[in-house]
């Protein structure tokens, strides 16, 4: 059983963090809320999402799975405007999700979740941690997009640095410790990442909201932030690119 009412923005937020990576997802629903973990088909990135029941205006559920075609769900949610209350109801007989937006009733066929993978979170040793404002990181990534397809992130004792280099142009964003919300590391850590993937991961978080990133040396990056007025939490993992050997 699943029956909920929620603001349009919350659902759009969930779509924003998952749809760039995966087209079909399995939502795990339980009385406490909704969780999801998925890996993109190239196995380069993982998204882990937890949304508490308190993010919803109404939430009644027993333990179950919902297989959702995210493109379809996104197009349905585009029918709603900010502030709209959206009602969701699982129809067990037809295996559909009934989405109500105002007077509009949209019944969405669901995907069979049998055989959809349950990826495990890999064990990672990521010794460097930085917390910063989303707007600062966004600016650096946007600038990098114009010059290269990958960027380097470096965390040292006193600063955090983002660097991208193309054939003729470079981008450098250096933030000293006092401009960061938090910086913890014992040694210098540096890893390279695809800008395509990385920019999709930080796009959903904006403005003053804090983003936590954890890196190692030539290791994946862990990106974390909150959505749904801090009642939802997103964790991304992104595999690194390796510099020429």
């Amino acid at each position: 059983m699943f029956n909920a009412k929620v603001k349009s923005e919350v659902l759009k937020g969930i779509i924003d963090v998952t749809s760039p990576l995966v087209s079909e997802v399995k939502f795990n629903i339980n009385p406490k809320g909704i969780t999801l973990r998925a890996v993109d088909p190239a196995h380069v990135a993982m998204v882990d999402l937890v949304v508490k029941n308190s993010a919803f205006d109404e939430f009644k559920a027993t333990e179950m799975e919902l297989g959702v075609d995210m493109d379809k769900f996104a197009s349905i949610m585009r029918l709603s405007s900010a502030g709209d209350m959206v009602s969701l109801e699982y129809d067990e007989d037809t295996n559909r999700l009934i989405v109500k937006i105002g007077n509009l009733v949209r019944k969405m066929g669901l995907i069979d979740t049998a055989g959809m993978p349950d990826p495990k979170m890999p064990n990672l040793n990521l010794p460097a941690k930085v917390v910063l404002k989303a707007s600062e990181l966004n600016q650096g990534v946007r600038a990098s997009e114009a010059v290269s397809d990958h960027l380097a992130l470096t965390v040292d004792k006193d600063d955090f640095e983002l660097f991208a280099e193309g054939d003729t142009d470079t981008v450098n964003l250096k933030l000293p410790k006092n401009l960061l919300i938090e910086l913890t590391t014992n040694s210098k850590c540096k890893s390279l990442f695809s800008i395509d993937y990385f920019s999709n991961m930080i796009k959903p978080v904006r403005g003053e909201d804090p983003v936590t990133i954890m890196i190692g040396n030539d290791n994946p990056i862990r990106v974390e932030f909150n959505i749904a007025e801090d009642k939802g939490h997103v964790t991304y993992l992104l595999a690194p690119r390796i510099e020429s050997e």
Partner: protein
């Protein structure tokens, strides 16, 4: 050849960019046959080197692989092993048809009918053991992995996709859906242009993606029933029932559940025995495959490629060079690590 079941599937149009960073296992025999059929001159003569040896397969393999690497797709080729005994009949029939086409090809050439000559010539292509070896040598030199399957290449390919080692099978045949590959990609070409069979015209073609689970859902059948449908239509391993195509087969299986019940209802004389039916099911549902493979793209050995294509088969060096440069992308491509 494979089962003629495409009409009932929902096929999504995609582009090379949708496959970026993804591993695609290509049914090698299927694609090499395609090259042999299509890479020909107007009168149907295949590409040949100055010694008169056919090179269509090498040219096709080289260009197709280069285009995929350029788009950062990770190709793997799966080659056929020893065919299943039930396929022998089909292969024998194909051989006879090819000999027939060869005779008609020569007749058409003599009569000056180039259009007919080309269309007949396309049906004559024979993949020899030597061509297979040359293709493998070329892949080795290009640094592209390939797998020797114990039996059917497409079964091996499907197994690897099911296991999660690859995203999709690349083949024109629908058989890999019967074997259970979650995703099939047809028309795995970026050229977007294909000659229409038997006509002097070209049409735009796009890669098409067919997802198994989605389609089973739409059709309202189980995977096992899809295999039963194919047995009614006819596969590489049996002839099928006269007068039953994909749509009729779907209705019959939905109404009756399985092949045995359908046969009991319609009472076909040309039906395979229950033993044969079970054997064919086994070919699709429990195919012979191997775990003995290693997927890595070590990069191109340019000297060796020149040796194979230019020295041995007289490709022009200035035409090979720009295509070969696309393979430099492999190093770039392999820089992206994966999580597992």
């Amino acid at each position: 050849m494979g089962v003629d079941i495409g009409a009932i599937f929902k096929q999504e149009k995609i582009g090379y960019s949708d496959l970026k960073d993804r591993v695609i296992v290509i049914d090698a025999y299927n694609v090499l046959h395609q090259f042999l059929a299509s890479i020909r001159q107007r009168d149907g003569t295949p590409l040949k080197n100055s010694k008169g040896e056919i090179t269509s397969h090498l040219s096709g393999l080289f260009h197709r692989t280069a285009n995929m690497i350029e788009s950062r797709i990770r190709p793997v080729y799966a080659f056929d092993g020893k065919p299943h005994p039930l396929k022998a009949k089909t292969l024998e029939k194909r051989k006879i048809r090819k000999e027939e086409a060869e005779r008609e090809y020569i007749k058409a050439l003599e009569g000056g009918d180039l259009v007919k000559a080309r269309s007949k010539a396309q049906q004559t292509g024979r993949l020899t053991d030597e061509m297979i070896q040359q293709s493998k040598d070329l892949l080795d030199a290009l640094g592209i992995p390939f797998i020797q399957s114990p039996q059917e290449g497409e079964a091996q390919a499907s197994y690897m996709v099911k296991k999660g080692d690859a995203y999709a099978v690349g083949s024109q045949d629908y058989d890999c859906l019967l074997i259970g590959s979650p995703v099939l990609i047809r028309n795995l070409t970026s050229s977007e242009r294909r000659k229409l069979p038997g006509k002097d015209a070209y049409s735009k073609v796009f890669p098409k993606q067919i997802r198994l689970k989605n389609n089973l859902k739409i059709l309202g059948i189980k995977h096992k029933q899809l295999v039963d449908m194919a047995i009614l239509i006819g596969t590489d391993f049996n002839d099928g029932i006269h007068g039953i195509g994909p749509k009729k087969s779907l209705n019959l299986i939905k109404k009756n559940g399985n092949v045995e019940n359908v046969l009991a209802t319609i009472g076909a004389k040309d039906a395979p025995s229950f033993d044969e039916i079970n054997e064919i099911r086994k070919i699709f549902l429990k195919p012979k495959v191997t775990d003995d493979y290693n997927l890595s793209w070590p990069g191109v050995d340019k000297e060796n490629v020149f040796k194979i294509l230019c020295d041995r088969h007289h490709f022009k060096k200035e035409r090979v060079e720009p295509v070969l440069s696309k393979f430099e992308n492999i190093q770039q491509m392999m820089k992206q690590k994966t999580l597992f």
